[in-house]
Symmetry: C2
């Protein structure tokens, strides 16, 4: 999918919502456990109930790997279901991969070609040759971890003790350096919503890039704040919500309740889009 | 496996060799492709031929994920085969994972509990709460990326522009900070062999920790140099070789040739151990 197609979808749906499909068998409605593949049944119901309110789905691969072979099968079925039935959706494999060149190529191929996701999240620690193999895929996107929404983000990403010249924090160095890599136009960035004050700084470095923003809702970030400082003329934001939507109910009405939560966010987003 | 058991194994086998099982269907002998699971057949033959010369096997998970479900099946069969037949071997899932706390817990469970690896490699960028869930497993080990063997290591890990107080490079901050984390005694570190001059610096920070050293052989590092600067009184090193051993031949004699290459390294290691 091209960035232009993503922007068009956002304008049509009046939404820049991404729904995180982080499926935990302990949290899904009990009646689904009778199915042969409860994870896929859960995802299918959530997707069917919310696809017109969001522009993106983001399965975190850890939740699937945790169930071994069966989990990978559920992931495959989920991405295939989305690609077949809702091809307009921007799909994100939240895998946070990154390795030496030839190994990153294997990961890139697995997620962007074989599973046919539109994008994959990648960790920056190993630098240029660990990320460029992901960037080589045309009309696919690499979402680089820049500023994450967890407490540990302060350990290195924003820690003044590991800041360089003129007090430049690591997350800024990561974003700046990544702009020099080959096919860097295929880059997006993960920027946690819990630190809205950082969006101004990041927009100085990458005014035009899309930012994937976790941490709205369960992790405490404010949608209004993020949009105020992070939005650009092409919107440039994908706001992720996982638990707040998919676990809105643990009863048989879970898909309907998920829709209601997604609708609340979509309506808030529509208001923000109108007022800009 | 406890660190003490690993040290005992090193002393018994007179080897601190780790063999990387990075299996690529394009590189293995053609006759294996007739088997139902060529990757497992290849691994089984390599393991049977080398298990007395090495103390560790390290499958890089990317190579297995690249083959989807079948790849995961090969990985499961490989780790089960090692655990059943050679329980003294220290197994490493080279997965380079790392995510927010509850998600890292999923990864840790998948690799350390379900697949029952002795250790897993983890990326440090997301900090403390992304690593501690791995450290929580008793007698399991978390091998943190510190200084990798690829060119991109210079982008952030050793880059003076992202060095902090008194010019401290990022890789040093990562190692120092990690020592303050809960159960940090379960930490080991990835330190690339292409930069032997850094071992002295690292040993000032973690004199007693085990270091997993990729990059000897194909990537150009020298075993002698690494041992000179990196070895401690408990050896404290696991030297990885992948391609140089497992692809020594692409004919039916591949396992025998792999043994010969492993033997060369083991004998070099035995000499080094004697002279210390």
């Amino acid at each position: 999918m091209t960035t232009q197609q993503l922007i068009q979808q956002i304008q049509q749906k009046k939404s820049f919502l991404c729904i995180g499909l982080d499926v935990d068998l302990n949290k899904i409605p009990k009646h689904l456990l009778e199915f042969d593949d409860p994870i896929f049944e859960f995802n299918k119901a959530i997707i069917d109930a919310t696809h017109d309110l969001c522009v993106s789905y983001k399965p975190n691969t850890a939740f699937y790997e945790a169930y071994g072979l069966k989990g990978w099968q559920s992931l495959e079925k989920t991405i295939n279901y989305i690609n077949k039935n809702y091809p307009e959706i921007f799909t994100i494999a939240d895998a946070k991969r990154g390795d030496i060149g030839n190994t990153s190529t294997m990961y890139a191929k697995a997620f962007l070609e074989d599973l046919n996701f539109d994008s994959v999240t990648v960790a920056p620690y190993m630098g240029k040759d660990s990320v460029e193999p992901f960037l080589a895929f045309e009309n696919k996107h690499t979402i680089l971890l820049a500023l994450t929404s967890n407490e540990g983000a302060f350990d290195f990403q924003t820690n003044p003790e590991v800041s360089g010249f003129e007090g430049k924090e690591l997350y800024k160095s990561v974003i700046e350096t990544s702009k020099t890599w080959k096919n860097s136009n295929n880059l997006m960035y993960v920027v946690g919503a819990t630190k809205a004050e950082y969006f101004t700084e990041i927009r100085k470095i990458v005014p035009y890039s899309f930012l994937l923003v976790p941490g709205v809702g369960a992790q405490g970030g404010s949608l209004q704040e993020v949009c105020k400082y992070g939005m650009n003329s092409n919107i440039g934001l994908l706001i992720n919500s996982s638990r707040g939507i998919i676990y809105a109910s643990s009863e048989t009405d879970f898909a309907q309740k998920a829709r209601e939560e997604a609708l609340k966010l979509q309506q808030e987003m529509e208001k923000i889009l109108k007022s800009n």
